[in-house]
Symmetry: C2
Subunit: 105 residues, 2 copies
């Protein structure tokens, strides 16, 4: 897989948010429908999942009516060492508003 594809996939903040959420959940525990809180249209969300899948960042399997996801953490790290950790370490700009008053600059 080309670096271009990986960079294009991760250059979108919503896709990085999806990646971070998947990283914080057990494999196959998150259906696409559990991302309804992400503030984009459902069709846009489907597009983001497709881009991430095509970039080798996640795999999907259908279980009944649900499409489950797994972050391809180890595989992606093997191909592009260091890239995924940067995304996972990134502060979520749309994160919780609490406890930011005295956060270090």
């Amino acid at each position: 897989m080309a670096l271009q594809t990986a960079l294009d996939a991760l250059a979108d903040p919503v896709r990085r948010l999806i990646v971070r959420e998947l990283a914080g959940s057990p494999d196959w525990s998150r259906a696409c429908g559990t991302f309804g809180h992400v503030p984009v249209a459902k069709s846009t969300l489907s597009h983001h999942f497709a881009v991430l899948r095509n970039a080798g960042l996640l795999e999907q399997r259908d279980e009944g009516a649900r499409r489950l996801n797994r972050l391809r953490r180890d595989e992606f790290e093997a191909r592009f060492p260091g890239l995924l950790p940067l995304v996972l370490a990134e502060a979520d700009p749309s994160g919780p508003p609490e406890d930011t008053g005295d956060a270090p600059a």
Copy 2:
């Protein structure tokens, strides 16, 4: 500096080419005028240099009529570990046509 800025800067193949060329040259040895072989308009090239500078990837200084460049390799690596090595390891798709006949796949 935000990861978004770094990813946006590096998501362009011409900018990655500039970064690789700077990495292969001593600091301050490359004026912007030495990138005339890059197949984009001069104004586009200036824009690419500005984006890279704003992303903290290079610094510039004027010496007479020449604008010299330095890749901020260590600084960028400290901020985004692993990202620059991925760019430097990337094969240049517009690279030399020689010796590719029996290159490993």
